[in-house]
Symmetry: C2
Subunit: 411 residues, 2 copies
């Protein structure tokens, strides 16, 4: 249907990007396909009963308030709960440093809105989170890529990137999406030092930090930065804006995440949110607070860790068994994803087409690289499928990869 | 706290607007003030029991799906329900014409994102909805104002505005925010004709259309436009993008609204939403569908109409009794607001300062005028306060206005 809107799109629409991969991934939604392509939490760990009970109590005790318009900043008791939780990790923040957002994607969008002018440079790990690139492409961002290895961003390469005069550094230090890698303590410290040296602030995106099922917790970048900034150690320095979410701790269908930022930034974020969606659903905020206020999330996260560890173990074990030796992969200590590196001559998008015929799917890695490369990489999600399904899917994929390698050798 | 972010804001931040009125309105949140300033529905009409019951059923029957990530377009059964509902008003649309948004404010933001380049002209009624101006200021919109009277936009003045080559016309035909006026059938038809003559499409914002408690329902602009566009009468022509919301029918704390648009526009809106917040809360969409699917909303809206009619009547009656004859006001046939016009020499913002001392509040009308004017106007909300509270508040305000007029006459 031709409509008058067709001729009236703003320049932003052209930046919304092509959807070749998205179209390909639609094919993976067929029910008989084992898909490691999504980024879904295990529905088995959703705390259905607790949410059920919380809905009941919220509507009984606070119905009229919970269903009414709310403040743009978010429900104050929830913000206070988040501030207390954050302070446990060694930096003191108050509810005034917290803005509730409708998922972390909205936090990324607002950061673009507040900070990115057309043509600005943003330093990112390569590969990095696709959702951040999608959010910031709309504002005309350019990316300065810093390569990464099995320990996260190669911080020694960061200094060169900082000389581009970037607006900020974007980093996912824990169980990164897409690679599953964790930035080492030494690299975190070096990142903080370099950011300070060049006066470039940091966006720390930490959706999975709580989902560590192996090794010791590492201090977050925001904590290290606050300790680094002189004698006020222990107080939030404000150089790092920190993002996290309830999507992986409770349920993504509630769309609840948060931003920790200096109060001056929060004030402007509030204005941005006022223009964008007024506020995040009041009811959902009451429910999350009701579920979380007695310390439930701390107990619940142990269950999630156990389930995800089992699934990661099965995925890794099966890969060891069935993947050809030409393929390498990461060993995540937490989170939801691992990263496969195929032989350099292999195109993961081509592999995906064949994999769909074999009823198994993943995400090709190229789109996670803002400046190109990574055609031979792939992201595999281990949180969603049950262990026996993971074993079956990885086996199918391993057989296909072996086939392709044999074909190439004999061709 | 001085932070490195201070020097890094994008040009958009400067456009976020001053907040003099917003600061003033914060004062009206004191509990002993009777405030007609907000735009809140009556909490007494929230269908608590139905929502309670729907939450229970959704979590019992669809828990894992309702708490999981959802599609960007929205929950299909809800979109189908909305399409069926819309088709009842004489235009045929399908779920593919419907996008679920996180409140109507998000719909307005997306429209800005899709269509407004810096400096573009948008035709609006003056006064018009403040939320639309806030959303579109962020994208650098200019406004061509068409004056309005007690029958809505003065359509005879529209032709001149259309010669500015605007991107679109924005109109709230039913019980407009802020004036409470309704665009007459003749003016609606003329609007459609002129829009067609100049090839300028229309955004029809209709949050209150169902809340008519007096007079007959008028066909919406989208319906008239679809009938006007030649032989395909009855089919959605796509020249009008139509917005509505569950905020006034169920509860604003769920943050659920929708856009009706041509499928080509919906496709682009989906990409915008993917970058902005991925999708609207899955759980809330399941709950709204569960509440609405048996026809409950049609029954419930009758209750809302009754309650709002009573409150409007009390407000109008009290104004007749206590307001000085120099003040005029609109007589809304539905919705939540009415509009007061003070003598030309009176500044409503100054009146508000004094009103707050007298423990009563309203919104001064000037900010609703994108190109200035309206300093002597005010918006009064009648949906939120109970009848006896309305009587008391309007009496306080009437006494103050009389005082000010006497002062002026004697001064």
């Amino acid at each position: 249907m031709q409509t008058p809107w067709e001729y009236r799109y703003a320049y932003r629409v052209k930046r919304m990007g092509s959807s070749v991969i998205r179209e390909l991934l639609k094919l993976t939604e067929q029910p008989d396909i084992i898909s490691f392509a999504g980024g879904l939490p295990a529905p088995e760990v959703f705390p259905l009963q607790e949410i059920q009970e919380a809905c009941r109590r919220v509507l009984e005790m606070h119905g009229p308030q919970a269903l009414q318009y709310g403040t743009t900043e978010g429900y104050r008791p929830l913000r206070e709960m988040i501030a207390r939780h954050t302070s446990r990790y060694g930096i003191e923040v108050t509810a005034d440093n917290v803005l509730i957002t409708s998922g972390s994607q909205q936090a990324l969008d607002f950061i673009g809105r507040l900070f990115i002018n057309n043509g600005d440079h943003i330093v990112v790990e390569s590969p990095t989170y696709l959702g951040a690139l999608q959010a910031w492409n709309a504002y005309g961002a350019n990316y300065v890529s810093v390569p990464s290895d099995e320990h996260g961003m190669i911080v020694d390469e960061l200094e060169k990137a900082l000389r581009a005069g970037p607006k900020f550094i974007y980093v996912l230090p824990n169980f990164q999406n897409p690679t599953g890698t964790t930035l080492t303590l030494e690299r975190r410290k070096r990142l903080v030092e370099l950011a300070d040296k060049y006066g470039v602030p940091i966006i720390e995106d930490d959706p999975y930090g709580q989902l560590r099922f192996e090794g010791d917790h590492l201090p977050s970048v925001v904590t290290l930065d606050s300790q680094y900034q002189g004698p006020n150690g222990g107080h939030y320095s404000g150089n790092v804006i920190y993002l996290s979410t309830f999507s992986k701790l409770l349920a993504p269908g509630l769309r609840l995440a948060w931003i920790i930022a200096p109060t001056e930034v929060i004030r402007r974020l509030v204005k941005a949110k006022q223009a964008a969606d007024l506020h995040t659903a009041t009811f959902n905020q009451y429910v999350a607070y009701e579920v979380g206020r007695g310390g439930f999330i701390d107990r619940h996260v142990k269950v999630i860790r156990q389930v995800y560890k089992e699934r990661r173990d099965v995925m890794l074990e099966t890969m060891e068994e069935v993947f050809p030796e030409e393929v390498r992969w990461t060993h995540p200590q937490g989170g939801m994803f691992l990263w496969g590196i195929l032989p350099p001559w292999m195109d993961a998008a081509e592999v995906l087409k064949k994999a769909i015929e074999h009823k198994v799917a993943f995400v090709p890695g190229a789109p996670f690289h803002p400046n190109g490369g990574g055609e031979n990489t792939m992201r595999l999600n281990f949180s969603y499928s049950k262990p026996e399904v993971i074993r079956e899917g990885i086996t199918r994929l391993g057989l296909l990869l072996k086939e392709l390698i044999v074909e190439r050798k004999s061709g």
